[in-house]
Symmetry: C2
């Protein structure tokens, strides 16, 4: 496959592209996406091309286009666009010749730089574009364009401002809004969302410099059109002369104001004041502040270092961490992470189980203050979860498969694209019967509480979520008289190729685990913290529910291994025909199976889209002996197509656990390439958020061997052959630990002030403050 | 000025372009726009380019995006788009080399043909694109693409279907709608408008042929995305092989069904049945039917022939008639003509006075059955006009400055773009105080009744409109005690540079004329048709109103000529400073005055945007002696910038009347070039509908000398020097007349069955059926 990506053996902080090609626009737009958790901006070029996707999203600003659609993150008016005409010829890299082309994103600084020499007719000019979304002031986006004239004298017409004509694939979420111009140069646009009534203030201003500031004397004209306000500048450049244009922009919304009272007018004026200061500071100073914030908040915190034969391994974790912070709304617990982050329209900005199972662990183990926001989001979602449960005839909290604003409840679309054969729209079942999300939330909550030891959070919010989810599960269980047991029928498990199955192992086991967890918590609180117990009991009617749990918990059907020790994925999976998937697994594209089988046919084969049973074996590893895991890995891995980005990392970790380091590393490499790989189209709809969490997990859980089991910390590293050194950090109950691993030695340093107990290869170590634990010989 | 247009001395039916240039997309999209009065499609290329405007409009389907916007014609999902990839390189004429480029619209057949050879790397292929909007079945659009491979073996990927991601500059008027696929190839999309709830059925299908039909065996795949359904085909072409793809599409809407009862499902199925038949018939047969319909309904009806030294004169009238029929909803009296026809977003599809004063006369004199629909639209608009009058504290019918669906009432936007200096939105005053529209409607109505002699219409609808408008004017008059007269204060006249003026001559004279007309009609009906009189009297309270008319009509202030015999445009115009406008008048761009003056300053100068006093002298010519007209022409022409496309034709006609044939012909030439001229940007927002009506008027009213005055027909031709022969036709009270004019002779043939009385240069001629009137010597 032809690839356009470019990586650098000597710089593991940079991702670049080989060449400019309009077919590849989507790839760079996504994987070089900028952001800071408040906003995300796809890295669309300044000048427009057919095939581009010009997206800016602000976390949490959900809106519903109409009653036929579900709520989604609206595409915000574009601030990035700039058009250039050189001697009346539009800058267009598909025309003329382009040399010295480079486009690179520096993951460490968050700066995107594009440069090239464009020659067209007698025109020749060098362009350097720089841009970043500020990590220190999350409302700001800054751009800088340097143009050096290498040919005939040039008049360059620059058109730049705010463009509100953008949509979400045709759905417009905004009113046109007022436009305003201050002092002839500060442009503002104030649209609001049509249904959720969120007010936006978009602001932008330009600076123009040659040797010195020439803004005032530059010929210019303000123009306003429908949903547009822009300034047009005419710049004259003699040969070898350079001009620099800075564009400083900002976005504010009415949901920034958690307290009411500020008016729109004040918002607008504050944004203007801020913009004036930012413009005065200028690109370079703003950039330094942002770079420092990246370093302080991300790169200097528990850094990961990999000494590998393959330089891409280190690059990949840098890439993953970069995007995890770009996409995560660390500033506001009313928001969570979208399945495509803030990098594309895909999945509408909605939050899935991806958060708890894939991204949350990174934050829980390394940025507990951000993790707390993410789990608090679920606590705030209890109301919606109650609504969903009661609408479906259940008790407690049934979390939505797709979540937007916390109290929206279920936001999964009901209907998908029309069926190719029948022409009728297909029903999307996930919102109705993909119910394991509720135990996933409990799993994430439990891990957060155990790892961080944040008892305040647990007492105020976390325990309630655990009780409420268990309450749902108890009501969800279905008594089967014939089998004399409780079953869970008619669900979709993690493997979405199987749409209506009974007793999906993942669902049944995690549901039962959730109930047992709640029971244990009930008993502990009643024993040790009667005040809190009484509060929660009053609120949740726990005494009654506990009885129900007691009655049911031992009668929940937990699918058991068959004679070959294979744990059945569901009641019928193991009875279906097996086919050879080699050719589909070797295809660089996902979904190729569907060129030969339709969904009904796939439903009747032992083909799994993504880790299902194996994910269970990883998440609840204590419940299954190692031999059983090995047998199941061997059984399911060949049947799993990894047609979801939520799959490879689990298989890789489990393989590492099981000592299959070669297979594991092969899967690790495939997983890295979900976004960074050669397929130039697979990221078009947005970044694969879960797979980025998966990269961190493969390194820290897989090769670093970290696990939090029943409240205890275990560290049992297994380095792949290609690596000779790995160091990483985690925070265990407020104590930062550094872990250094080689093939010979594990060293753990406790930087905290409390004792940390670590289990490792059968031994228990107690680390006092600032003490180093060294295991001389890694056991295998 | 560099121009991209191309015209052919030997073919006065074709408009073409010199070259493909993305800067020029808008020009060809507009002036080569296809349509049939039911729908209009901008001539956007199949493949997409940055800067294109992909518009399809269906007459009458108004929708309001939100409460901040006024209703407008929504941009319908695109059926025209097709993307081609040749050996995986996207067809893109900005890349590679293009030779033998041609794009021509044949005005006679309504067919647009584009052809070129595209060479890129080792690819070389010839493309011929044909398309038309059917004039015989107004729901159909047909396209045909021939691709001949002139280079290496090709795999061509064709992507084509229905794209609902288009918007009106970012405002989306449609729900996504259901998508359907029948028999694997008939694609349909059923969106509806968000506020007006008009249901659309869009349908399309492809045919693929080499030597024979290869559709079935072509590799293909249906794909559906958000607001999109399309088919993708893979075609293999060896060297010199040719493939032909036909795309047949249709549009139906729920307002087609004037009677209720048909369900959406039936609409969809009927559209599908129709599409199947159309597809069977194929492009060529559909084209023939459409071409014949053009000929029968347009070109064979009263043809105009000009023998001029300048071939563009004949081309221009063909161009004008083509577009007048493309834009006019002849099928439905609930619709009228938009100021940009159906060719662009400009003016939102709204109807202005442009219809009555500029386009309607063409239909009244040559297509009375279409004209009847247009005047009936105003009758249907009475309810909205009553509403507007009563909201403003007046009686009778005050017609809206901008009209959409007949009962919408006023649809002029209240606020325009923000003021560049203050940053505040500017108020659009036309909807409030540009009140002459009401007399314009009466003028059009009176002309229609007199020219067609359609007494049924007059008795059922027309008289009522005349009474009701006069009723409005009587209530609008303002008694000025100091002057002891009725004045009309605080209006905008035709000259929109003057925004709040008192006693605009055009307004006062036409208002008074309207009242007098109603009084005369009142008296005639009371005398001759008591039954109808009583009906209308009951409905409109005429007896009371007539008294009011009697009291007021002789006290209406009609501005009088000053000492120099100049009729003042309004109370203050003549007291303002005069400046030299030569340089602005010679500029190829309109609006250049505003590079040096702002609107306030222009308001205080004797500068007129468009014919104002002169339009009055033309429309109510009987009221003013010839010498006064001449003096006023000489006075106002140098002060008129013609910054409106509603201006030049009036000045040209008046100049012809006044014997200033050289000046007239100069203005005529400028007027032709409003759309057909060298300015490649001025038509971007859509065609200038009024100017096209103006072209017909300059020829028939100006040089043909036709006038309908007080119910009488006058024909007093004056040919410009460059012409030696003009022939044209009109229908006078059901009698088709042919008029042949040379510099020596006028011949009029009456093809009708009744006597026609014609006044000409002081003589009265009576033509019996099939008789020829010849005036041997044209008087001057």
């Amino acid at each position: 496959m032809e690839t356009g990506m470019k990586y650098f053996e000597n710089d593991q902080w940079v991702i670049g592209e080989q060449a400019f090609k309009t077919d590849w626009l989507g790839k760079a737009e996504t994987i070089m996406c900028l952001g800071n958790g408040y906003l995300g901006v796809r890295s669309t070029t300044e000048e427009s091309y057919v095939g581009e996707t010009r997206n800016t999203f602000v976390a949490g600003t959900f809106n519903k286009f109409d009653d036929n659609e579900v709520t989604e993150l609206p595409n915000v008016p574009d601030l990035i666009g700039m058009e250039f005409r050189l001697n009346n010829h539009r800058l267009d890299l598909t025309k003329g010749s382009v040399s010295e082309y480079e486009r690179n994103l520096n993951l460490k600084t968050g700066e995107l730089i594009r440069s090239f020499i464009w020659a067209y007719k007698d025109i020749k000019a060098k362009f350097i574009f720089k841009r970043f979304a500020s990590f220190s002031n999350k409302h700001l986006i800054a751009q800088k364009v340097e143009i050096e004239n290498l040919g005939v004298p040039l008049t360059i017409e620059v058109t730049s401002g705010i463009n509100g004509q953008v949509t979400n694939s045709g759905s417009q979420h905004f009113t046109e809004g007022d436009k305003a111009l201050s002092e002839g140069k500060y442009m503002q646009m104030m649209p609001y969302t049509s249904q959720s009534n969120i007010f936006f203030v978009l602001s932008t201003v330009h600076k123009i410099k040659k040797e010195q500031d020439i803004y005032e004397k530059t010929k210019k004209r303000i123009e306003m059109g429908r949903r547009k306000i822009y300034n047009r500048y005419w710049l004259n450049l003699v040969r070898n002369e350079t001009v620099t244009i800075e564009k400083i922009s900002s976005i504010h919304t009415s949901i920034d104001l958690k307290t009411s009272g500020k008016t729109l007018e004040a918002m607008k004026n504050n944004a203007l004041d801020e913009l004036k200061l930012a413009q005065e500071a200028g690109y370079q100073a703003l950039y330094k502040a942002s770079k420092n914030a990246w370093n302080e908040q991300v790169w200097s915190v528990l850094p990961i270092s990999i000494n590998s034969k393959n330089f891409k391994d280190q690059l990949a974790i840098n890439f993953a961490k970069y995007h995890l912070h770009v996409m995560t709304p660390a500033h506001d617990e009313r928001m969570n992470i979208g399945a495509k982050g803030l990098s594309g329209e895909g999945y509408k900005g909605h939050t899935f189980w991806d958060t708890e199972i894939f991204m949350l662990p990174y934050f829980t183990f390394t940025h507990p203050e951000i993790a707390e926001k993410l789990v608090t989001y679920r606590y705030l979602g209890l109301e919606g979860a109650h609504k969903k449960a009661s609408e479906n005839g259940f008790e407690g909290a049934q979390f939505p498969w797709e979540a937007a604003w916390p109290d929206d409840g279920e936001t999964t679309p009901v209907w998908g694209a029309a069926d190719i054969i029948t022409g009728k729209p297909t029903k999307i079942w996930s919102g109705f019967i993909e119910q394991h999300i509720t135990s996933d939330v409990a799993i994430g909550m439990k891990q957060f509480i155990d790892v961080t030891g944040n008892t305040n959070f647990a007492r105020e919010k976390g325990y309630e979520v655990i009780f409420d989810t268990a309450k749902f599960w108890a009501s969800r269980l279905q008594w089967q008289e014939a089998n004399q047991r409780y079953e869970i029928l008619e669900v979709v498990g993690p493997d979405e190729y199987k749409e209506h199955v009974d007793n999906n192992a993942f669902t049944n086991y995690t549901a039962c685990w959730n109930i047992k967890l709640a029971m244990k918590l009930y008993e502990e609180l009643k024993e040790n913290d009667l005040k809190l117990f009484n509060q929660l009991n009053d609120k949740l009617d726990l005494t009654r529910v506990y009885q129900e749990w007691q009655e049911k918990v031992n009668k929940v059907y937990l699918p058991q291994p068959n004679q070959e020790n294979v744990l059945p994925q569901d009641d019928t999976y193991l009875s279906k025909p097996v086919i050879d998937l080699t050719k589909y697994k070797n295809s660089p594209h996902v979904g190729t199976l569907f060129h030969e089988y339709n969904l009904d046919q796939v439903n009747n084969l032992q083909v799994t889209k993504q880790a299902d049973v194996l994910l269970l074996l990883f998440l609840l590893e204590d419940l299954f002996p190692k031999e059983e895991k090995l047998i199941n890995w061997n059984y399911y891995e060949p049947k799993t197509l990894h047609d979801s980005s939520l799959s490879l990392s689990t298989h890789a970790i489990l393989a590492a656990d099981l000592g299959k380091l070669e297979e594991s590393y092969e899967l690790f490499n495939k997983a890295l390439n979900i976004d960074m790989g050669e397929n130039m189209f697979s990221s078009n709809e947005g970044i694969h958020a879960a797979s980025l969490g998966g990269i961190w997990q493969m390194i820290v859980f897989g090769y670093g061997g970290v696990r939090c089991l029943d409240g205890k910390l275990r560290i049992e590293p297994h380095l792949p052959k290609a690596w000779d050194h790995l160091s990483f950090g985690i925070i265990w109950k407020n104590n930062p630990l550094t872990v250094e691993v080689t093939h010979e030695k594990i060293t753990v340093i406790n930087h905290g002030s409390n004792e940390v107990v670590i289990e490792s290869f059968g031994n228990t170590y107690t680390l006092k403050e600032e003490k180093i634990m060294t295991i001389q010989e890694v056991q295998r």
